[in-house]
Structure formats: C-alpha cells, structure tokens
Amino acid sequence: MKKGSNVNNRINFLKEKAKNTRLNVVRMLKAYPNGHVGGAFSLIDIITVLYFDYLDDERGDRFVLSAGHKCLAQYAILAEKGIFPKSILDTYGALDTKLPGHPDMHKLPGIKANTGALGHGLAIACGMAFSNRLDARDGTVYVALGDGEMSEGSNWEALSFASHHNLSNLVAILDYNKLQISGKVSDIMNIEPIADRVKAFGWKVYSINGHNFSEIIEALDNAQKETQPTFIIANTIKGKGLVRGAGEAACHYWKATPEDLDGLEASLQAEGVD
C-alpha cells in the first residue's frame, strides 16, 4: 500500500479510481462499441491498485499486460492517471487511433510492450526483471496474465526461467475469471491445479479475491518481500461491474448498444462496483 496512508481511506480512494476507470472504458465504447470488455472489467480493480499505489517508473517498476486484448483497462487507467489526455479516449476505434485493439508502445505513452499475441508478456517481463537486477535497480516487474493464455507453452518456459534464475523482483498476476472466448477454461483446456503447478515450478503462490482491495494490497505487499518470483492467482469475475452479462463468456468481446452503455454508465455512477 502507499506509504503513510490510512487503509480505509486508501481503499475508498482506490474504489473511486476503479469506478472512474470503468467509466473511462464506457467512454471509449461510446466512440466505438466493440471491445474485450469482459477481461478488462475483471482486471480493472487489480491494475487500479497497481497503477495508483505500486508502479514507479523511475524506480524501474514495469507493468506488462500479457493478455493484451484487455487493453481497454490499461488505456482507461493510463487516462485516469493522466498519462495522456482523456480526449484521446474518444478516438477508440477510429482510423489511426492511438488506442488500437491491442496496445502499441509507439503510439501511446505508458505502454511498455506490444502484447496481443498470447503467451508473450511473461518472457518480456523476465527480461525487464533480469535487467533491473543487472543494474541493481529496485524496481519490480508486474505482468498480468489471462487464464486462457496459460495454455500457451511459452508461459511455462518463462515460469521455468524465472524460477531457475530466481527473479524475486517479478510478480505475475493471473486474472482468473475462469472464462475464455468459447466457454469455461476448465472445459476448453484445464489449467488446474494451477496453484500446485506454479508452485512446482518454484514460484511463491498467493490466491486472492481479485476484487477485494485489501487482499490485492496484502498480496502485492507480501510479494515485495519474497525471495522468489511471486504468482498471484486473482480470482475474478469476468465483466465485473456490467449490468448484464458479468460472469458469462459472452462478455469476452462485447458489442454494446447505446442503451447498454447508458445503462452501464448510470449503474456505475450510482452504485459503483460491489
């Protein structure tokens, strides 16, 4: 947690930021109504905590969104942090936008890797973490993985490497909403027992509720002290915050109507996300 802050006040602050971040996604969808909303909304609470309380670029902290299709969440949080003007959100979906369907570091400040093809981010994050260690920088490298992308063999190569080279400055966060585009992860390609599998690869594993800000903060604080790479299994709900369709695979790629967006905006403004 951010040093010197009161826990309850800080959590209320972060909840407000997470609400605004979801509203930023709605703003993008009003410009262009299609996107990978399900995963973006399951991830937003986690990356809100990361971006507001943990990431310090100067220190060498880095965040890699391995499941690059969740970039709506990253664009929304970067705008909320003021990394780029919110007016850019209104260009989502337009020709030559700085906000393509998967992130491009050369188009938008704050993006550290051009992800989108699954199974790439963890290897890139290993390179960043290794480099920090070579240069004796304190920074931690965080990488957000999707649960569907854990089927990619390249992730398991990277899990081996990080353990073998003991990258204790690397934190992987699994956005475990248990759904991928065609249905349940457990039906399509089971990744369980994911905690045991990753432990067997030599990582420290935490399992948390990925929408509980206290648990997110506690896990991220613990990760700072670990002497081995840390894997946080964040149990989440796909589409968390949607009025309809949360927890269903269909929200993976959402094609919203204007009424959907008005309803979602009103709901978020009125109630936030429980």
Binding site: G116, A123, M128, E157
Partner: protein, 312 residues
Amino acid sequence: MALEYFDPRKVFGNSVYELAKDNEDIVVISADSGGSSGFADFMKEFPERYVECGIMEQFAVGFSSGLATQGKIPVFCAIAPFVTLRPYEMFRNDIGYMRQNAKIVGRNSGITYSDLGSTHHSLEDFAIISMIPEVVVLAPQDPNEIKGAVKAMIEYKGPVYMRIGNPPIPNILPDEEFVIGKAKQLNQGEQLTVISVGTATENAYFAVQELNAEGYSIDHLGLGTVVPLDEEAIINSVKKTGKILTVEEHYEKGGIGSQISDMLMLNGVQVEKFQKIAVPHEYATSGPYKDILAKYQLDKEGIKNKIKNILI
C-alpha cells in the same frame, strides 16, 4: 599465397566479446547454444552478462525484448532455424513491432549444417525475416566482414538479424569498416552482373577470379546486407551489363534473387537475362557440405558453368 581459414562462429563470438569489454550494455543470451556460438571467452569474462535460457528459443527472443526495453543490447545466437522459424511470432512482435535494439544471430545458416538434414537447414530466413518491417538483415561474407558487421550491428540502434555459417572460411575482403546496406564491389566487368550474398560469396568470388583469367568480364557485387538492399549499386551494375546472376544459399523463392528482381521491376530497370543459383523449393538433402553445394551448383565449378551458359 595460401589462404588462412577461420571458424565464422568464433570470429562472431570473439567480436562480440571484444566490444563487450567497453560496452556494458551487451548481454549474451544462450539457448544451450552459447559455447557453439563462439562465446567461450565472453562466458568466462562476463558471466553476469551471459544468460542461459536452456532450450527455449521462444522465451529467449521474448526475454531479449524485455532486456532491450531497459536499455540492454541483447545478442541471442543459436542455430539459424531455431532463432527464426521457431520463435517467428516473438521475432515479429517482440523484436520487430516493438522496434527493439536486439540482435538475433542465426549460425550454421543455409545448408552449412549439411549433414544434419532439413530440420537444421535455414533456407527461408532471408524471406521470412525480410517480411518483418524495420529489421536489418545482415549476411557477412568472410571473417573480416563478420567482425565489421558485428560492430555495425551493435552500433546500429534497432532490430537486426544476422546469419553466419559454420565451416571455416577464408578472408577475401579487405579488413575495413562494414557499412550496413552497402554492397562490396568484388570485381569490375561489363558482360554480366553477379550478385552473391553471405556464405555464397566465397565460391562466387573464386569462380569470377578464374573466369577473369579466361577473359570474361564480370561485375561482381558481394552483399553483406540483404535489408536494406543496396539498390543503387545493383541498378548501376545491371544498367551496365544488362544481365544478372544471383547466388545464394537460400531458397530460390524469397531470397536475394526474388528481392532484386522485384526491386528492378519496381524501378523500371530492364534486364536481358535474369538467372539465379539457389536451392530449389524442396527439403534439401543431407550429406557433406561440399557435395550439397555441388548438387545445387553453389560450388565454384557450378557457378562458373552457370556464368558461361549465360554468356554463350
């Protein structure tokens, strides 16, 4: 005077090692491939900058990208198909699309791993890596040029693919600065333009030298760079001779022959004859290197015969 032969992998590895003495950003990546890439001295001298990844080339390329984001200059060298075909998407996205200052080196390229069969040949790397925008593709032609190309590759800020061979090769070019994108004029002539690249240049060079003695007049350009192509040198030569022969240890589709013919057509340059010596589109056979070269007319005699046929 007898020619002195050098192992191209050792020349490469030693060149990186020498530069790394002054450039602390250089980090060598191995996929159980460092020892065979000429990095023995580097491993001994700079163990903290020598990163063993084990046999996982997809990871090694992505990892290189991550290092580069933080200002390192990763140099990843392994057998050519394993750094190009296997991790192609990582090469395209993590190195190319991210415009990383990373250096990927394919050794034992072409058919130099002749006896190990098609899995270990690399006959499509010019084609597939050239398709990735903004990646420089180098193919130094002799030990001197390897040394120069390594220096140029490290000094260049951006993604580079370099391919080198395996069997010992002699120095045939002057020990001078390597300029990315500049062809070397290896012989002046009027009848035919011969353009060779990388490992194919040695035999082309000696073929042309012998034909000189027989009274032929051949313009020989040696390419140490495939991308960017030295269009000016090629066009000027072809305008003079009207005939062209390309020589490469690569498939005839997609290699320098294809790229040069495209380039000449787009520039409206007419040629009277255009011939290629390259490997036909098949899984190349296995056997002694010299025998495979002869089978595909890539040996000195094959090149001489081809040139004579063109000039009949």
